[in-house]
Structure formats: C-alpha cells, structure tokens
Amino acid sequence: MKSESNLEKVLTDSTFAVTGELGPPRGTSAGVISEKAHYLKEKVDAVNITDNQTAVVRMSSLAASALLIREGLEPNYQMVCRDRNRIAMQSDILGAYALGIRNILCLSGDHQQFGDHPKSKKVFDIDSIQLIGMVKKMRDEGVFLSGEEIAEPPRMFIGAAANPFGDPLEFRVHRLAKKIAAGADFIQTQCIYNMDRFREWIKQAHDMGLTEKAYILAGVTPMKSVGMARYMKNNVPGMDVPESIITRLKGVDKKQQASEGIAICCEQIEEFKEMPGVAGVHVMAIEWEKRVPEITEKAGLLPRPEPS
C-alpha cells in the first residue's frame, strides 16, 4: 500500500469501489457538511470534496475534507491549479495529510471566467499532470519540488480526472497515459452518458495496459430531468450527452423523470461492474446527495466494505 487510504484498500482488494461527491457550502456552516455526509455514510468508500468548483467561491476543500473526517467519512481532497502556486499547493498538501486526509485528486480547474469572480487573476503555475508528479515526488522521494527534504512526507493516494469525450478524441487515451505515467494511482472519469464512446475509450486504455497501472472509476451523474439533460448537453464544457438519453427522459411523465434518470444511472453501473478495466464508479450526485442511498442500493453496490 502506498498510503493508508481506505479507497486504496478497497481497490487493492479488487472490490468494485464507489466514491461520492460533496460540494462545500457557500458559507461557513459545518452543519451543511454533516447533513450531506449523513446521506453518503456507509454508501461510498470515499467522498470527493470539490475545490471551488466552476470557479465559484465556496468553503475550502481542505477545511471541508477535515470536517468530513469528523463525520467518519473518508475524503478525496480535490485540488485545482487555478488558484494556487506550487508553494501554496505543497503547503496545503502537508496540512491535509496532518489533518488525516489520505486521497488527493489533482485537477486543472475550471477557468475563472465561468465563476463568480470572472476577472480574478489565474495562477496555473503548474498544470494537473505536473501536480500529480509533485504529489508523487513528495510521497515517494520525500522531497519538495525544490528537492529539499520533507520531515515525515505525506503519503497520499493520488487521483486524477479523465475525460474520454473531449477533443481531440484520439488523444484522450494518451492523456490518460500521461497522467498515469506522472503518478496517478486512480482515475475518476467525467460523467459518462455516451456509453459507446466510453466502451471504446476503456478498451483502448485496457489494450495499452493502462488499466493494470491505475484503477479507473467510471463517473456517473443521474439526470434529474429532461431540462438538466439539455443543460448538460449544451452548456457544460466537455460533456457528451447523446440524444437517446434526452428522448428516454422525455418519454416518461414529468414526475417520473428523476426516477428514470436514476434507472439509467443504475443500468450504467451494472454494465461497468462487468466491463474489463473498470475498477469502480464515481457517483456525482451534486446537490442530490439524498438520492445516493437509493442509487447505491438499486445498483447493488451495498454493503460497502467496513473501513479498517
């Protein structure tokens, strides 16, 4: 084991892993975190804590991760390159480890233009692949990026994101390869709706031997309604929502659309369980945490292994 992460343990035991996601509040309430955590408890192996997602200011992912530990859940601490330089990042990683955080997800981050401070100054001192390499260096070599020694290095289980649907399609698997070569231990994908494309991508990854080198968790987000599906299709960068999903949701009564969305999601999870190279699922039910128990139940993902 590279870390003392529960997620790593689940994955190395060859158990089909489940991760969830929790967005910190736009305010100071620790109560919001306990409330959301309550729905995820014993339903997932680790919970991603987003880092000012869509460049909108929220409680820091570091603080929210620490609060999640208090609730008895394991955080997957997200860190984006948009807001911090290498000094701040390394310092936060040390602090995160000291607070008991054992998983880190390294991301580029959405451009600030989308957020609530569109004219803020971007940082991007290093990019997500370089961040992965930096965390690995800190863990495996016990040194900072500068080469200077760390007293008691942080032993993180290192995650990265992959989008099988972005441009250029042929390059996507190579970018995955770069992230794994940089040191990613596990990968969480963008929300998958286009299953054909995903099958093709995971097959390529599998054929290249990448699924042997890192654990790949397939990302899902249940659709709440036809409106949400259309919005995701048209407004969310890097999202591939096929027309067939929209047609299927349109085909049921408005009141039934949420359940239909969950049904689609569970069918996908059933397929992932059998798909070579897929080691788990990442359920991103942002602001819909209360449906996670139902999804994990229906998809046959429960009970989760007891964290040691």
């Binding site: 370089q130 390869a177 770069k178």
Partner: protein
Amino acid sequence: MVKAEIKQLQEIKTSVIGYSSILITGCGGCVSVCLAGGQKEVENLVTKLRLSCKADTAPKNIGGMTVERQCEAQFLSQLDQEVPKYEALISMACGAGVQYLAERFPDKPVFPAVNTAFIGINKDLGWYEERCQACGDCVLGITGGICPVTMCAKGLLNGPCGGPQNGSCEVSKDIPCAWVTIYDRLKAQGRLNNILDIFAVREWQNQTQGSIVLDAYKSRYTGEKK
C-alpha cells in the same frame, strides 16, 4: 509587436485636470503601427482635448510632439527643449515608453493615454491578436509553433484540459482550443511524439524584472571580461 489601445477621452481628460499646460508625446514605434499612439493619434488627441477642455480647470495650452521611439534615450532627447515649457506630460507610448519618458523628466507628472495590451500580430486591418506573453523560455519548437502559455486559457503545458468541444476552448466557442490546434499541427507534421512525454514543471523566468545584457557588451556594463 507591442499592441496598445487608446484610453477613453474622458479618462485622459480627468487625469490632466488642474494642469494649465500639457505636452502630448507620441511614439513612432509599435503604438504607431497599431494606430494607438503615433503622430496621427497625437494630432488627433491634441485637437480633441483642445475642443473639449474649455472649463477653467482644464489645460489651456496643449502641445504635441512625436519621437521615433520613447523606449530609447537617443530619441527621447529630442524632447529636451520642448518639455520644460509644459507643466505635465501625456505619453501615448506603450508602458515601457511612458516609464522611460517619466525617468528622463522626473520633475514632470506623466499620464498614459493608451492601455498597453499585449505582444501580438496584425490579423487584418485594425485587428490585432495576442501571441506571446514574453515568458522568457520559448517552447514553440516543441508545440508546433503555437504558444500554450498565451493561447491556452489555462496556460497548460500538458494540455488539453477536459474542456475543449468541437475544437473550441471551454471559455468560448469563438476561441480555438490551443491544444487541439497543437495536436492537429503536430499530427500533420508527424511530430506527435513531442507531446506524448510529460512536460516538466517550468522554472518561470519572468518573476522579477527582466534584463538582458548581450555577451558582447558584458564587459562594458559589469566590468566582467568577455
């Protein structure tokens, strides 16, 4: 070349309120090429300011003069006779020119009349686009002649991010994704290998004021032997 854009007249006017005489100085270099601060723009601004500065507090005496380049002492010296006749100066040069002018005449308040925008190209008549951020460590040889630092909204060296769609950057449908462009060009040239390896963390070169002394001149400025 450096590209700049003239400020709103109101902002320029407000900056010189209270001075009875001002000299508007132009630059015949980059800012003249992008029609922001050359001789013609100086004449234009002189006329506009004269017309609109009728109030008591506005300057009464407004002159104009353009030198070949404000970023060179040799050319700035042409202003030596003229400047003492005025209370304050307006510079229509880029940020570098404004500062060199202010350094030469330290007792005169200097006000910029343009916003220096970027190092760019002339895309078409009156249309300029940024191409270089002067990072001090050029990688264009690796990235197919397309600058990831400038052209990628996130300045990624191991792009693309998860955002591009239909070849456009996630920030706008109208901006091509730099990394899709890099990929396409390298692929066409059979050089995709360039971006399969990880681009290591960079040591940014532009974090303190830049300065270049050519080897041939080192001894002249530092006393160092060649």
